[in-house]
Every structure is written in structure tokens, then in C-alpha cells.
């Protein structure tokens, strides 16, 4: 499958807080979708594959609005925030096998003006990662939301490897710095210092407010097709060298994992690099799913950019900033651009590979990595090249 499929269209809405988008959940995603389709130089009706984000829309509704009269491939990958990147794998397989010609992958939500991301917990087991396990064994103790789950892992990492608050802060600062170069970043114009970071309120120790991603309104989308079809389209394609996804074990609960740092990415990353025929050293930038700062550090380790336990030192000294050894989240990420479920990370990767990232362009970017993280540690990774 290597280099047989590519991303040929990207689209985004404005990313907002304040009064919000003023659009419906579907309308917002359709705006991003139509922009991605137009970016590819396609007509809406040419889309014959749609991969909606879990619970945020149906292929039927997208198709009925876009006029996709030949919809053949409608699949949703249920991996929470790891879904968009994992969807690239199915999309690539679909367009190379003939199951579909042009696959649309949309994602987005009114995460600020509608039900906040933080409020999406309830006893409705269908909406909880872990389902009845979370309901019966986590919720009674007040462990109800993602920053709390992951703070338990972050604390353990600090204990085992001496990871420090300032190292988590270095991640928050890098994302914020990059956001200053991105006109669509919600945190543009709001620079942050280490003192600001350390002074931000502790929400779920060791997570402070600024360790946590934003809640925003916004949507992003992309279009995947085969290399052959891409030749007839107007934009320079971003080639999918490889995609892999994985689940932690067990995936439906995290307290009893023998190795609490072994996540889906631990399995997926080596597989993705092997299939792509490159190593972490060959990578020019990484867009890493940054729901919280520690998850960035942990994924940097599990991808293999450094050894486990060395992530804290790795993220210091500007190494993950533009101009550093491995620029991470050049758009500002979920922490400082917007929380678009990681779809914005793929869009930014494509922009970097096209060489159109403006002020934040990574010089001569040739190979980029994008990761996804969901639920209790589901993982996905795509290796893309120009």
C-alpha cells in the first residue's frame, strides 16, 4: 500500500470560541467538507466514500447534503480521537482496492458553544469509553473525565522517570508559540510564559489548566484518493507512506494494564515505520494528538523519537519548536489552535508537505508523522511524504 494513496484535498472552518460557530453540527462539518472537496478540484457528487467521526454524523446525512449519488463506502472507525488518523488506513485501502474512488473524512463539533467536551460524561454507558466498567468502577469515585484518567498515568511517569512539571510546560509553551504564527489559531495573540503555565490552576494534579486542550467550535476534512486519480487533480498530493492503528491492552480499562505506558501507539508505530521503510530520524515534523501535555510526551516516546523515560528531556530546550530537531504541532495543536479531534493535525501535515504553511513552514519538509490518541489510549499513526 505504500505511496499508493494520497490526501488531495484539505478544508477547515474558522476555529472559534466566544459566540461559537452559529452552525449545526452537520452544517459545520459540511462547510469543512465542501472546502476540502473544492481544494481537491472535485465536485461534491464525485465523493463515493465517507468516513464520519464516531457519534458526530452519519454518512447518509453527509451524502444527502453533498449529493453523493454513488456512495459505496461508508465506514466509521471507533477509536475516539485516534479515529481520523486511523481512518486514513481504511480510506487508503478503499481507494487502492476499488471500493471507492474519492473518500471524504470529516470531523468537527461545536465543542465550545454546544455541550462542552468536558460535559460529555454521564451514566449513559454508550458514551463512555470502557462502558459499564467506567460506570461501575470509575465513576463512583469521581473519576469521570479524560484529564483525570490521564493524570493518573502522568503521575506514574513522573514517579518512574522523574518527569517534571516544567517539562509538561515546555510542551504547552511550544504549542502556544506555534499558534502565534497561525491566523486560525484560537490562542493567537495570547503568548504564554513558563510562569503563566505554572501559575495556571491545578485541575487534576499534575494537570494544570494549560496542560489541557481547548474546547472550540470548528471542523476539518480531507479527501483521499489513489495515486493514479491524484495525477489528474490540481493540488500537490500528500502521499500516504503508511498508516497503522493499535489498541492498548486491555483497551476497555486502564488501571490493570501490566505496563501502564504501553498504548495503542506502542504497537502501531513500529509497524508504520516498517511499512513506510523509514525511521523516526527521517521525520521532519510531527503533529501529535495533544489532548493533554503528557500524552504528547508519552507518544513521542512510544513513536520512538526517544526512549521511554527520556521524553521529559526531549521536549526541553526548544527541541519540539519550529527550528528545533523535531517541530511538533506546528499549527498549535489541540492545546493552542483548536480541538478538532485531531483532523486539524492531518490538515496541518498536508499543508507542511505542500510547502504552504507560511510563517510556520518547516523548511524542506519532506516526511511528516501524524498521530491520533483516543479513549483509554487507542493509538494511530500516519507517515506522510510530499
Amino acid at each position: 500500500m505504500k505511496d499508493q494513496a494520497c490526501i488531495v484535498g484539505i478544508g477547515e472552518t474558522k476555529y472559534l470560541r466566544g459566540e461559537g460557530s452559529g452552525m449545526t453540527l452537520l452544517g459545520l462539518q459540511l462547510q469543512a467538507a465542501t472546502r476540502a472537496i473544492a481544494d481537491a478540484g472535485l465536485k461534491n457528487s464525485q465523493i463515493d466514500g465517507i468516513m464520519p467521526f464516531p457519534t458526530l454524523g452519519t454518512a447518509e446525512a453527509f451524502a444527502a447534503n453533498l449529493g453523493c449519488v454513488n456512495l459505496r463506502f461508508a465506514v466509521t472507525i471507533h477509536m475516539g480521537g485516534a479515529s481520523p488518523v486511523a481512518s486514513l488506513e481504511s480510506a487508503a485501502l478503499a481507494v487502492t482496492s476499488g471500493a471507492a474512488d474519492y473518500v471524504l473524512i470529516p470531523a468537527g463539533w461545536n465543542g465550545y458553544s454546544s455541550a462542552r467536551a468536558r460535559q460529555t460524561v454521564s451514566q449513559d454507558v454508550s458514551s463512555l469509553p470502557g462502558g459499564t466498567i467506567a460506570r461501575d468502577y470509575y465513576l463512583p469515585y469521581g473519576l469521570t473525565a479524560p484529564p483525570q484518567w490521564y493524570s493518573l498515568m502522568a503521575r506514574r511517569h513522573m514517579h518512574e522517570y522523574g518527569t517534571k512539571a516544567e517539562q509538561l510546560g515546555a510542551i504547552a509553551l511550544a504549542m502556544r508559540k506555534h499558534a502565534q504564527l497561525n491566523p486560525n489559531a484560537v490562542m493567537r495573540g495570547r503568548a504564554m510564559t513558563m510562569d503563566d503555565y505554572l501559575a495556571s490552576p491545578m485541575l487534576a494534579d499534575p494537570y494544570r489548566l494549560f496542560d489541557c486542550c481547548l474546547e472550540t467550535d470548528g471542523a476539518a476534512a480531507l479527501v483521499v484518493t489513489s495515486v493514479e486519480r491524484a495525477r489528474d487533480l490540481k493540488k500537490k498530493p500528500a502521499y500516504i507512506m503508511s498508516v497503522a492503528a493499535g489498541q492498548p491492552y486491555p483497551a476497555d480499562e486502564f488501571t490493570n494494564r501490566k505496563d501502564i505506558f504501553r498504548t495503542g501507539l506502542t504497537i502501531a508505530a513500529p509497524e508504520a515505520f516498517a511499512r513506510a521503510g523509514v525511521t523516526p530520524k527521517d521525520v521532519d515534523f510531527a503533529q501529535i494528538y495533544d489532548c493533554f501535555t503528557f500524552e504528547v510526551l508519552q507518544q513521542i516516546e512510544e513513536v520512538g523519537f526517544c526512549k521511554r523515560g527520556e521524553g521529559g528531556a526531549f521536549v526541553e530546550g526548544g527541541r519540539i519548536e519550529l527550528g528545533g530537531e523535531l517541530p511538533v504541532n506546528t499549527h498549535g495543536g489541540l492545546l493552542s489552535e483548536a480541538h478538532v479531534l485531531g483532523m486539524n493535525h492531518i490538515v496541518e501535515a498536508v499543508r507542511q508537505l505542500r510547502g504552504v504553511a507560511g510563517e510556520r513552514q518547516v523548511k524542506d519538509a519532506e516526511i511528516g508523522v501524524v498521530t491520533g490518541w483516543g479513549d483509554f489510549g487507542d493509538g494511530s499513526i500516519a507517515i506522510l511524504r510530499r
Binding site: 460506570r135 461501575d136 469521581g142 473519576l143 493518573l152 498515568m153 494534579d205 476497555d252
Partner: protein, 141 residues
């Protein structure tokens, strides 16, 4: 559920299947986990079969109730309305002597005192007439 009768308004486990058994033992003051009758492996969360050896045969084996804090957090801002008046609260993962881990909390211990490795033993908090939640208190090793 007698939530309104008792005035307890936080989320409670739903007593069905394995959780019904698990919490029934807790109500009797016993912490029990599944143990495989074939290979002897302890497990939590409850499962239909042993992931170690594939056996369907298991029993509810009694835990010593003793263990240590594996990791902890302190929640200062509740993200669930039922816990709004209970912050700070400190969910911990306790690793029991049998090797299984339980998400719980340590009573009689301020967040500042929590430490990984702290020895703890189980106590049962009768939050409603039907449900006693297993919690922990500090102990000497």
C-alpha cells in the same frame, strides 16, 4: 435505587452481572476478585474468561485487602456535577497484594499526604443501604 431516600447523589455502580456479585461481597465486608481455577491468575475487572489461559472456570477469591498506592491524582475542579461539592477529591489506583489494581480513594488522608507506594488496607464505605464502596486507609506494612 434509593438515592433520594438516602440523600446520596453521586453516581453508583449498577448492580447487574459481575458487578452485582462484586458489590454484594463488598456489602458483606469482603473484597473479592475473580481468580482463575485453572491457572490461578487473579483478575480485575471481572471478565467471562481467563485472558491468561483461556479457562472459563473461576471463583470469587478473597483478597487480603492490603496493598499500596500505585498512582494518584487530585481533582480540584469536578467535571461531573455530582462531585462539584466534593473537591478536592483524590482518586487513586491501589495495587493489591494479589497483583490486581482497584480504582478507589484513600480515606483520612489529605491530598498532600498521598504518595506512591503508601501502604493501605481496604475499608468499606456504606454509601447507601444497598451499596458499600471499597475504599482504603493508611496502614503499616
Amino acid at each position: 435505587m434509593s438515592e433520594s431516600a438516602t440523600g446520596y447523589t453521586k453516581p453508583l455502580p449498577v448492580l447487574e452481572g459481575f458487578s452485582k456479585d462484586f458489590y454484594a461481597f463488598c456489602k458483606q465486608g469482603e473484597l473479592r476478585f475473580q481468580r482463575c481455577k485453572s491457572c490461578g491468575a487473579w483478575r480485575h475487572m471481572p471478565r467471562e474468561m481467563c485472558a491468561e489461559c483461556g479457562s472459563w472456570e473461576w471463583e470469587w477469591a478473597k483478597s487480603s485487602g492490603r496493598g499500596e498506592v500505585f498512582t494518584w491524582t487530585v481533582v480540584n475542579r469536578a467535571l461531573h456535577p455530582a462531585f462539584r461539592d466534593s473537591v478536592p477529591l483524590a482518586p487513586v489506583i491501589v495495587e493489591l497484594e494479589e497483583g490486581v489494581r482497584l480504582l478507589s480513594e484513600v480515606q483520612g488522608c489529605t491530598p498532600e499526604e498521598l504518595k506512591i507506594g503508601m501502604p493501605v488496607e481496604v475499608v468499606f464505605d456504606e454509601v447507601t443501604p444497598e451499596i458499600s464502596l471499597p475504599k482504603f486507609r493508611r496502614c503499616v506494612r
